[in-house]
Each structure stands twice: as C-alpha cells, then as structure tokens.
Amino acid sequence: MNVTFWNKEVETMSRGGIEQLQVSRMQQRIADALKTPFYQHRLARAGISSPQQFRSLSDMQKLPFAAKDDLRQNYPTGLLAVAMEQVVRIHSSSGTTGIPTVIYLAQEDLNAWTDLLARSIVATGCTRKDVFQNMMSYGLFTGGLGLHYGAERVGMTVIPVGGGNTQRQIQLMKNFKTTVLHITPSYLLHIHSRLNEFKTRPQDLHLKKAFLGAEPYSENTRLKLEELYGIDAYNSYGLSEMNGPGVAFECVYKQDMHLWEDAYILEIIDPATGQPLPDGEKGEVVLTNLVRSAMPLFRYRTRDLAFVHPEPCPCGRTHRRLSRIQGRTDDMLIVNGVNVFPSQIEEVIMSIPEVGTNYMIHLARVGSLDKLTVKVEIYSKMFTGELNALDALKNRIRDRLRALITINPSIELHEPGALPVFEGKAKRVVDEREKL
C-alpha cells in the first residue's frame, strides 16, 4: 500500500510530542476563552483564571463540558473571542429547533482548518493530478466549502458544482475526467440508478475515489458503492461546532478514521456519568478544538457514540482512529441501569413481518423498577384471526428484544393505524418516569 503524507512530521509525531503540542495549544485557547463572556463566567466557576493553570492533559477534567444548548443560549457573540473585523468566515446552522448556532473563523483558523482537510485528502492517496468534483452543498453548511479549500490547497483541479442536477454532474464527470467525488452516499446511489438514462456506464467514468459524509450510512452501503463504481470510498467525520469536515478521516487502509490530535483533543465518556472511558469502549465523543482562536470551545459533547482503536494503524500515523459513529446519545434510554437505544428496538420490530413499522416505547416506574413497554401495530395482511398466533407473536417480540437489550419488556399489540403518526421527526419515546 502506497502511503503518502501531507505533513509527515505532525502525522507521525510521537504520542509524547502530540500531547506536548496539545497542552501548549490548550493554553493558547484558554487565553482566548478568557476574553469571551461565556467562558469568563464558566472558567471562573471552575477556578481557572489564567492559561498557566493548565499544565497537563489531566487538567482537561477540570474544564466544564459544553453542549449545543450553550451555543444556542449564547448566540450570536457569547463565544466570540476576537473583534468581528478579525473574523473572515461565519458558518451557521439553523438546527431542528430553529435556534441557530454560529461558528467564527479568523484567518489563521481558516488556514489551520484548510490544512487539516489537505492532510485528510492526501491521506486517501489523492495528489494534485486528481480532478475533484465537490457535490456537497456550499454556503453556510460547512461540508462544501471545507473540502473545497482543502482540495485547492492540495492543488487538485476543483469543480465546485455543489449538489443536485444529476445530468450535469454526469456530464462534468465525463468532460473533465473527474477522479474524486465528495458526496452523500444516498446521492451517489441515486446517480448510479440514473446512469443508464444518460447512456453512461460506471466504467465510462474515470472515478477512483469518493469521500462520503454528511449523513449516517452503514458499512454495507460503503461496500455496495465501492462495488457499483469500482472505487475506494472513504469515511469522514466532522461537525460544524468543530469547524466542519476534517476532524477525522480514513487513510488508504480504510480501517476507521484518524482523528487529527494535534488539532483536537478527543475524549470518549460515559454519557450517563461524564466519566472518561478507556480506548476500545463505546461512549460519547467529546471534542476540544485546539486550532480556532476566534471561537474557543472546550469538551464539546457531540452526542455521537463511537470508540477509539487502541492499536496503531499500518499507515504509520500516530493519531488514534475513531470508529464509525454507532448512534446518538440523544436517543439513549437508561432502563434499570441498562443503556437501551430505540434503534435496537426498531431493528427487532423491523425484522418481524406480522407487525407494522410504526411503534412506541413507553417507560414507567413501578415501585423501584422501570417498566419498558413496546407498543406495536398488527399488520393487517399477516393477521390470521388466531389468538394463539397473537400470543406467540408477543412472545417472539419479547424474546428477541430481551436477547438484544437484556431487559424484559412488555409487548402491547395495537390495531393498524392506532399509534400516533409523526410528520417529520418522530417522537416514539414516552418517558413517564420524569414526572416523579
């Protein structure tokens, strides 16, 4: 395997070197943070009034976590550490609740971010000879512009087409012999389904690689895309609060994503207790941005669940690898001390043909115990009219759930269409324990 580097010194730096760099950059960020209304207050409460109080990485534990709500409540300038004239870029997301969040970048921050993206792109084996068609949307969303700048810095030929207009995308890929795409997996699947229409076969294109992102997808989807197009597809990880893409990226080995630890401090915590977890254990990803002066953000709780690979990668990079995102903490329920995800329950329900796809999860407290009830709808076409069959169905659902989540749920059968239907984001969990 041909391994190439953008900045070999940093990418293969010793762990000790990385940690030293992290501490010195952390001190700079604390100095920035002390200029913001938000952190003046927060850090004072944590007993931190000067950057010198941060001496080693174990001092991270003294810093308070930050969450999405902090960004919303301090919109627009509560976390801004520089004069607005120093800001060269603003990215903003509206969020599902409608209260926006904003990210500020000074010139040096934009340079550092762009450098991380160049590093990510080169780690996949790309060179300046590649033609890069960026099908991610541009604008306030960080995905399009982030990779655009990174690809330009590598010296690739960049086609900034953005998303949509499949016919034009195919035409551009053919005319300019595009070799690398940045695209959502669902759009890449869609384009494949329409190639015929434009009398194009995958082998008529010159594609070698695709950077996938911006939406959740399974490993099977990645493998399918690689097979359909005969390309290598790379997973990436980023979030606007940490600038956007380029937080972590796969190298040519495609064995999960190197998280650039000179630029970010990665912690994996138990979402229930906030305590750090060892490498290899799944928990919530918590990130600190070390290379953004205009807007410091420490120990940001991403709500993404993943784990860290403790073993080194054959590529020689020393930056630890983050697994693919395994779920979101927003959804996690703690039932009698056991972590349960609605997605696990959904997986079981979807595997049983006698019930419909709508379901509700109900939690109540009975005495000192939590009671989990899963409500499902009978699927009309599979209804036999036999009471025994209905009893057996309930047992089957209960047994499969118990095997997966180790909790014994009650199953309730309902008439088709009886459970609430949600337009947009479904609210399938009713937790009555909160009222106590």
Partner: protein, 145 residues
C-alpha cells in the same frame, strides 16, 4: 360452512362501536357475535348476513380482520340435553373444540351453535353430527345468493 368475521380490536371504549358503525352504514345484519378478551386487545367474532362484503369493507377501513370457516350446527328442537349429546359425540371421537358460541332462535325455538375444531379433517364431523340428529347448515342454506 358458515363464515365468521374475526376482527382485531383494542380493549378500550369505542372500539366495538367503530365496527357497528361500519356495519350499520353498509346495512349489514349481525346474526351472532362474541368477544374474546386478551388484555390490551381482543378478538370480535361475528356471523353476519354478507360475510365477504363485511370483511372487505372492514379491511378497507383499516381493520385487521379475516374470514374463517366455522361449522353451523342446528338442533331443530330446543330442549335440555342437546349440548350434552353433541359434546358426548365429539368426546368419544377425541375431537377437541377450539371455539364455540351458541344461542336459541326465539321465534322457531331452534338451537344454533357455531363451532371450530382443533383437528378438523381427522374425522368426518358433519357425518357424526348428523348421526346424532343435528343438522349442519351449509353456506348456501345460510346466505342469500
């Protein structure tokens, strides 16, 4: 055979009404019905004058419902001992009754019982029942064409 309409219903106020509303709207006549309760839900079983039509309409309204063949057994004269005679005949041949509901037609004093068996086809039920003086009513006799 008679045709029973079996409907899945949640066990809460108004669910039976949702069925009777549909039947009334479509001028369907109920001859007999029973309910089997199972906690949060139950099964409503009905004999109606136009079973196919009833099933189609209910399914169309989104109900989980199916048609099932049941044996309609008639004792021409209502008198003590009819059920005992019937159950003895079935017991002697090891036939297990899965489900049954019966009533007496008040006008002509006939006993009518709708029955479902655990192992139909093992013995000729209609023959046995007929041998004991009962009548098995066929679909043709029961329903108007």
């Amino acid at each position: 055979m008679a045709k029973q309409v079996t409907i899945f219903l949640e066990n809460r106020p108004g669910r039976m009404k949702s069925i009777s509303d549909v039947l009334l709207e479509n001028n369907l006549n109920i001859w007999a019905f029973t309910i089997q309760d199972r906690g949060e839900f139950g099964l409503m079983k009905m004999i109606v004058d136009k079973p196919e039509k009833a099933q189609l309409i209910l399914a169309d309204r989104g109900f989980a419902c199916v048609l099932k063949d049941v044996l309609a057994v008639v004792a021409e004269k209502d008198q003590p001992g009819n059920l005992d005679k019937l159950t003895t005949a079935l017991w002697e041949r090891g036939v297990n009754i899965k489900d049954a509901y019966g009533f007496v037609s008040p006008k002509d004093r006939q006993g009518i019982c709708f029955m479902e068996f655990e192992n139909p086809g093992q013995v000729n039920l209609e023959e046995i029942i007929a041998a004991y003086g009962f009548k098995v009513v066929s679909g043709e006799q029961l329903y108007e064409p």
